[in-house]
C-alpha cells in the first residue's frame, strides 16, 4: 500500500527514458546514417556535366533542346 506513486513513477520514468532513447537510436541508425551514406556514395563520383548531357539528350529540358 505504501509508495504507490513512487513505485509507479519509478517504473514509468525508467520506461519513458528507455523508449525515447530507443526511438532516437533506432531513427539514427535506421534512417539518418543510411541516408548520409547514400548521399556520400552518390556524390563521390558524380559528374554534373555528364548528367546534364544525358538529360538534354532525352529532351526534357525546354531551354536546352536535344538537337
Amino acid at each position: 500500500m505504501r509508495g504507490l506513486l513512487a513505485r509507479r513513477m519509478k517504473f514509468h520514468l525508467l520506461g519513458a527514458f528507455v523508449v525515447s532513447l530507443g526511438c532516437a537510436a533506432l531513427y539514427k541508425f535506421g534512417v539518418a546514417e543510411p541516408r548520409k551514406r547514400a548521399y556520400a556514395e552518390f556524390y563521390r563520383n558524380y559528374d554534373p556535366m555528364k548528367d546534364f548531357e544525358a538529360m538534354k539528350a532525352s529532351g526534357v529540358l525546354e531551354s536546352a533542346p536535344a538537337k
Binding site: M1, A38, V60
Partner: protein
C-alpha cells in the same frame, strides 16, 4: 426569514429554485442534498474514503459496531469481515480486477470496420464512374520514363532504382 434575506443578497442566481421554494416552507434551513455530502468512492488512490460504505446500519449491524468498541480479539472472523464490508464496498483485489470488456470493444470495432468495407465496395461497384486516364498503363509508363529522364530523386528515390547503363530496374 434570515435565509430569504440571504437569498436576495446573493441574487437568487446561485441557489436552485427548488431549494428556495423549500426554504420558505420550513424554518429556513434546507435539507442537505446527497450530492453535497461527502461520498464513498472505490478508488485505488483513495485508500480511506470520507464515509463508510453502509450509511444506515440495521439493528444487527449497530450491535456489531458496539461490540467493535470492546477488545477486537473477542470478534470472530465472520464479524470482522462483516465490519469490513460495512466500511468498504470492494476490496483492493476486487477493485483492480479486470473485466472482459475489451473483447466487446474489439468485436464492435472490427464489426464496424467490416461494415464500412462493405459500404465502400458497394460504392466502387455501383456508384463511382471510371477513373482518370492518367492511371492507365501507357500513361504511367510514359510518366515514369519522363521522371527517369529528368533524373528525379537520384540519391534515394526512383532514379536511384534504375540502371541507366543497362536500361532496366536495378536488381
Amino acid at each position: 426569514m434570515l435565509a430569504s434575506r440571504a437569498f436576495s443578497l446573493v441574487g437568487r442566481r446561485s441557489i436552485s429554485t427548488s431549494l428556495c421554494l423549500r426554504a420558505h416552507g420550513h424554518a429556513g434551513v434546507v435539507k442537505a442534498e446527497d450530492y453535497t455530502l461527502p461520498a464513498y468512492v472505490d478508488r485505488r488512490d483513495v485508500p480511506l474514503p470520507e464515509v463508510a460504505f453502509v450509511r444506515d446500519l440495521s439493528a444487527q449491524q449497530r450491535a456489531l459496531k458496539e461490540k467493535e468498541k470492546a477488545s477486537w480479539s473477542a470478534l470472530s472472523v465472520d464479524e470482522k469481515v462483516e465490519l469490513y464490508r460495512m466500511k468498504f464496498n470492494e476490496t483492493y483485489a476486487e477493485m483492480k480486477k479486470g473485466t472482459n470488456e475489451w473483447k466487446t470493444i474489439l468485436g464492435g470495432v472490427l464489426f464496424f470496420l467490416g461494415l464500412t468495407g462493405v459500404i465502400l465496395i458497394w460504392q466502387k461497384h455501383f456508384m463511382y464512374g471510371p477513373i482518370p486516364q492518367t492511371f492507365s498503363e501507357e500513361w504511367l509508363s510514359a510518366q515514369t520514363k519522363r521522371m527517369l529522364d529528368m533524373r528525379a530523386n537520384p540519391v534515394e528515390g526512383v532514379s536511384a532504382q534504375w540502371d541507366f547503363d543497362k536500361n532496366e530496374w536495378k536488381k
